[in-house]
Symmetry: D5
Subunit: 171 residues, 10 copies
Amino acid sequence: MELVEWLHKQVTDDPRALRWFSEPGSDARIARAYKELLAGYEIEPSELLKTTRVLEPNEEPGRVEVKDIRFYSICAHHFLPFFGQVDLAYEPGDRILGLGKLPRIVDAYARRFQIQEDLVRDVARAMMEYGHARGVRVRSSAQHLCMCGRGPSSQTSITHTEFALGTLAGS
Amino acid sequence: MELVEWLHKQVTDDPRALRWFSEPGSDARIARAYKELLAGYEIEPSELLKTTRVLEPNEEPGRVEVKDIRFYSICAHHFLPFFGQVDLAYEPGDRILGLGKLPRIVDAYARRFQIQEDLVRDVARAMMEYGHARGVRVRSSAQHLCMCGRGPSSQTSITHTEFALGTLAGS
Amino acid sequence: MELVEWLHKQVTDDPRALRWFSEPGSDARIARAYKELLAGYEIEPSELLKTTRVLEPNEEPGRVEVKDIRFYSICAHHFLPFFGQVDLAYEPGDRILGLGKLPRIVDAYARRFQIQEDLVRDVARAMMEYGHARGVRVRSSAQHLCMCGRGPSSQTSITHTEFALGTLAGS
Amino acid sequence: MELVEWLHKQVTDDPRALRWFSEPGSDARIARAYKELLAGYEIEPSELLKTTRVLEPNEEPGRVEVKDIRFYSICAHHFLPFFGQVDLAYEPGDRILGLGKLPRIVDAYARRFQIQEDLVRDVARAMMEYGHARGVRVRSSAQHLCMCGRGPSSQTSITHTEFALGTLAGS
Amino acid sequence: MELVEWLHKQVTDDPRALRWFSEPGSDARIARAYKELLAGYEIEPSELLKTTRVLEPNEEPGRVEVKDIRFYSICAHHFLPFFGQVDLAYEPGDRILGLGKLPRIVDAYARRFQIQEDLVRDVARAMMEYGHARGVRVRSSAQHLCMCGRGPSSQTSITHTEFALGTLAGS
Amino acid sequence: MELVEWLHKQVTDDPRALRWFSEPGSDARIARAYKELLAGYEIEPSELLKTTRVLEPNEEPGRVEVKDIRFYSICAHHFLPFFGQVDLAYEPGDRILGLGKLPRIVDAYARRFQIQEDLVRDVARAMMEYGHARGVRVRSSAQHLCMCGRGPSSQTSITHTEFALGTLAGS
Amino acid sequence: MELVEWLHKQVTDDPRALRWFSEPGSDARIARAYKELLAGYEIEPSELLKTTRVLEPNEEPGRVEVKDIRFYSICAHHFLPFFGQVDLAYEPGDRILGLGKLPRIVDAYARRFQIQEDLVRDVARAMMEYGHARGVRVRSSAQHLCMCGRGPSSQTSITHTEFALGTLAGS
Amino acid sequence: MELVEWLHKQVTDDPRALRWFSEPGSDARIARAYKELLAGYEIEPSELLKTTRVLEPNEEPGRVEVKDIRFYSICAHHFLPFFGQVDLAYEPGDRILGLGKLPRIVDAYARRFQIQEDLVRDVARAMMEYGHARGVRVRSSAQHLCMCGRGPSSQTSITHTEFALGTLAGS
Amino acid sequence: MELVEWLHKQVTDDPRALRWFSEPGSDARIARAYKELLAGYEIEPSELLKTTRVLEPNEEPGRVEVKDIRFYSICAHHFLPFFGQVDLAYEPGDRILGLGKLPRIVDAYARRFQIQEDLVRDVARAMMEYGHARGVRVRSSAQHLCMCGRGPSSQTSITHTEFALGTLAGS
Amino acid sequence: MELVEWLHKQVTDDPRALRWFSEPGSDARIARAYKELLAGYEIEPSELLKTTRVLEPNEEPGRVEVKDIRFYSICAHHFLPFFGQVDLAYEPGDRILGLGKLPRIVDAYARRFQIQEDLVRDVARAMMEYGHARGVRVRSSAQHLCMCGRGPSSQTSITHTEFALGTLAGS
């Protein structure tokens, strides 16, 4: 079955809309785009986080934050994208994690069907469990196309969600 | 009766003003615009807020905030618009609410004759009562045309009102 | 007759809307606000522009521009405000005009029922005819509440109109 | 047939992805969102543009521009949204058009499956043909999710398209 | 007696300076400007603040702030203007005050000979006494021409004064 | 005679206004402030401009511009300050002038009773006559307290004047 | 052979520097990073540009520009990165190219050893030859680490290069 | 041995890549660039910090902060640069240190192979040990080319690390 | 003796450098510039601060802050300028000080050979001792040419110093 | 002879000023700072510009611009620093110059006693003569401490100078 059948049955029978998806190859091209946006399901977060340096006993942990990690996700309710930034702070437990892996853990959970409230929770839990962090705080801000496409009060709004665990809970 | 009669009796008898509203159809066109600005009376807030996901027992609630929700309202005292933004934060109670509904709850109370101090209170109470939030904080900032059209000290001013309930009171 | 009658007949019969305008004094308070927004009809532009200094024969005129003159007006079609800024440039003819009068000539034409395309034309013609300018260019940018209160594509838009005469036409 | 079938066949068989769309009602909810994003097919642009004032013979036309008209559209190639702003300038022909209609003509062509190069052309042609403009210039700038979701060089890029006809061609 | 006599006796005998004020009508024109800048003496603050709505018993008061109220005043020591903004926050006592009156209470005290330290104190006391506020905080920031016209270290400086009473003291 | 007499006769008899100027020493303090604001009359512009380096024959002149020269002046019509910035560009004639002298030539003409249209003309002419420039362009932008203290349309406006001579006329 | 040998022979014999690269796996990890930065050699630009729509005969071409395409490249002289943005404008010839391909053509030439002057030339020529454009203009701005790491005058500088061909040459 | 051998063996055999490094002199030129980026190994931090003034007994120490110290470093894991800013605050112990030395202590640790988490720790410890500070807080923010060159979620991200000791720990 | 002798003996014998200072009058011109930059030694801070108004017993003091006071000073160690801003806040003791005097007390201590750490301490102590303040806080931020002229890590840095006494210590 | 002798004879005999320079070592420390600021005399511009690539016959030259090159110089008239930015654009003649050399050519002429009008001329001539450019344009903007330390009208001003030769003259 093809996407054009679903469109025709559920959304519109306007031929000007449907003609775009009747060309051969269009279904495959769209599927490739969506596969890329859903590539997070292929990633196993527990294997992603690598150790850069093990802390010495009694070494002060310091704090590390990667800000403005861009993400693109698909709203699980409306099948429409939402996208924005994540700020991810953690306090190392027994190890310093590879910096380059922090944006990838965000990517692993964003490239799925998501709701923005769960995205920050999923990342925070992974940092605690797989990254052995003492504490973690994840903040996201995003624009939702499902909100944007509608009434006048939501066109410019930005949604923020936040989740914190361990020593950074309540910070 | 027509708006031009009220204008003529209460505001001005200048024919250059009145001529605009003597054309056939002008009264209906104006009424349509005002009906749209007052469409909030048609909305029943208690039916608006939908549940996206029920929290598991003992699940941390996190925090959700939608910022920069634009609104347009009409000042109940001067029959002139005021407009601006609302920032709406809440801490979920037993459920996560549909993100797209939060701008609509603002819209439902803004598209009425309002005073800005009551707008934030009305939204906050609805979030507690109909959305079962643990806590809510509503902030608005707005420009008032009734203030703008007058003396020199108020042309640029912005009015802020704020109302918080539950776990977010005092935050 | 009272505004509440028009509201009731043309716009809404919701008692929560109408109660605001049934109190004694409310009609007079609203009329005062509108009288102020329409005060431009009381001003005679031909008497407004005063001469600061007469140019000597063969004196270079220079150029004068007053930028960011705020105005508030009422859209003649929807009985709803529009407001914004005017930039007013002129090249003196035989006289330099009092600077403080330039914002007032804008005010004289803005505080009427207007359409934004006519506002710049009215000011430009007055500068030529009553101010004896060699050239004039009037630019306005404004937000319209009648556009704002509606669909999602117009919430943030700004409308620009421009009109130029004499030596500044085409500049 | 349901969207979940297409997803399963063409994109992914991960049950964490598919479960979202197996709930009853999810297909209808998604269809409603897409219907709204494709509502432009319901609008007949030739009937949209209304006349505010007919120009007098020999009257200078002036210039009108509405800037920052937000739009949301769906890329006809990847079935993914693109969105941004349109600036629409025109020089009136024999009539001044209702300002509130200009954002709607943009909306009428944006809420379809589109490519950004055609969007500005469609709006420009409608302004000439149905609005009797002397000249028109349409500029758009947009973010494309199909570009964003991919390689590192395109995450922040903005695409601009422009189309001009009549007296504004080449301006 | 005329201003030119004072200028000549106390400030300068340069004829290029004095000639401006020897024309008939110049003294009256200057007096009109100063009368306007000193119009605050005509306003009785105790009569200015009107009640918009009486709070119900046990109703939470919320907080209201009007920011960026522009003011112009004359420094009582140097007979030269100072001007800037006031931010005025209050927590309602038994009533919500008319929003449009808050800029006017600032105006009433600014359009006098003032010192900036007293301006915020005067407004705060009036809000408590005549507005029955639970608490009030008044902040001002201003440029002083008497400071500006002099040495190089003060040309860009901005002076801030602040005064708070009641529940907002110490906030 | 004292300023307080003029105030009392021409502006106000409110004792709260007059008391400030009845203290001994207040008249002298005010006169000192005004003397400083009018110190330009003491400066002889023809002696101010010094030569840094004489150009060699056939040397290209280059162009020099000093931007954002702050000035404070007193409006000759309303005895109230206006202040802002001057941008002063010149193309050297037979000599390069000392950079530090360019702000002083502005100061020499600003610290007088002035009108903003004449300020730029006076500076431009001095650069040509005393500085032997090939060309000069003087632009000023200023806020006027006489405009600010009044109606709502002028509170934020900025006035620009411009004057150019020689090779920079028309640039 | 390993990178640490080169470092030791050519750059430093400090053991604190060399120890990082003596661990097993470090050479492979570095090689992977460089392979990614040099992946452009794997891409064949002539196969990259796809056609979205063929223009009708006599159809106006319009103009398309993708701005702010981020790139990362390696300076062929110092083996150190430079990175920045490209703005790529073209006027279609006989076809409209897929928008998503324009950032990729930039990527194909940037992910090589490059000099910034050649990067814009390479992209421009490919757009003409493989994309059949009527005209093209490519502008880049970049920071160079080889310039940054040195003397004080170059720490903040940005280098711009530009290349245009066809109808956009000289634009 | 030469860098081109390593490139050929580990990264690429594309002759277009390798040709750049086969010219005589290219290896020496690259080595010079890297020597400069690694010059920190030559600096002995314990000898760097000089005393400007010894505090008197019981003298309040005050606080000193140097903000926006630019640094360039090389990531010890990927042999690729990272660069950004350091803010360095300290509370003097028994001496005030020469201001000009604070950027140099940052430079001494940055011009090495580093990881960003260690950079702030190294500087903080040196300030305590060699500068006899009562307290120190070091914050850094940086862009990493090893993160930038990869997936779409990390192109714009900025990494922050922070380390504090003594009286400024926990500040 | 002349500055050129010192330059020649201590800094450079390049005739292109020395020729500038061999012309008659150059030494006097330089000395005049330095005298002005060191004019603070002529000012007696204890005589500078004047009383505007004596507080009534039990009157709340409020708080006064003058921000962005520009200063220019000469670094006592390198004979090179440093310059920036001071923010000076105080809580009045028994008197309100003349606002115009606060920038002058900064000027009195800045126009000396200084180190930035001592500048804020000197001003704070003078405000307590001569101004009878209850509390004072002085913050400065400055650029140092002695830091700027050197290595790459210090070109953009800004140095902050802060000193507080009395009720504002620790604020 | 020592700098303190010159200071004492020409500028001030205040012991608080002189004491700073009587300590042993202070003269040498100051000389080192000035040597660094005057290091441009040691650089031979004709040897500085290196060739990156020779253009092929008939190859289009393109255009290269390095913006925001920071410089520090010493005003030859007042022995006080001036500093700012240079933008340096050139059109290659028969060769592309090494990018890293362009900031150095600016440095070579800035680290001398200079006047800002000559700095841009010196750099432009060197680019033509030693770099074989077809055209060059050099723009500088700077702050002068000799202007800053004085009267109120010059504290914020920025001086711009510009010089162009060859194909970029008049651009």
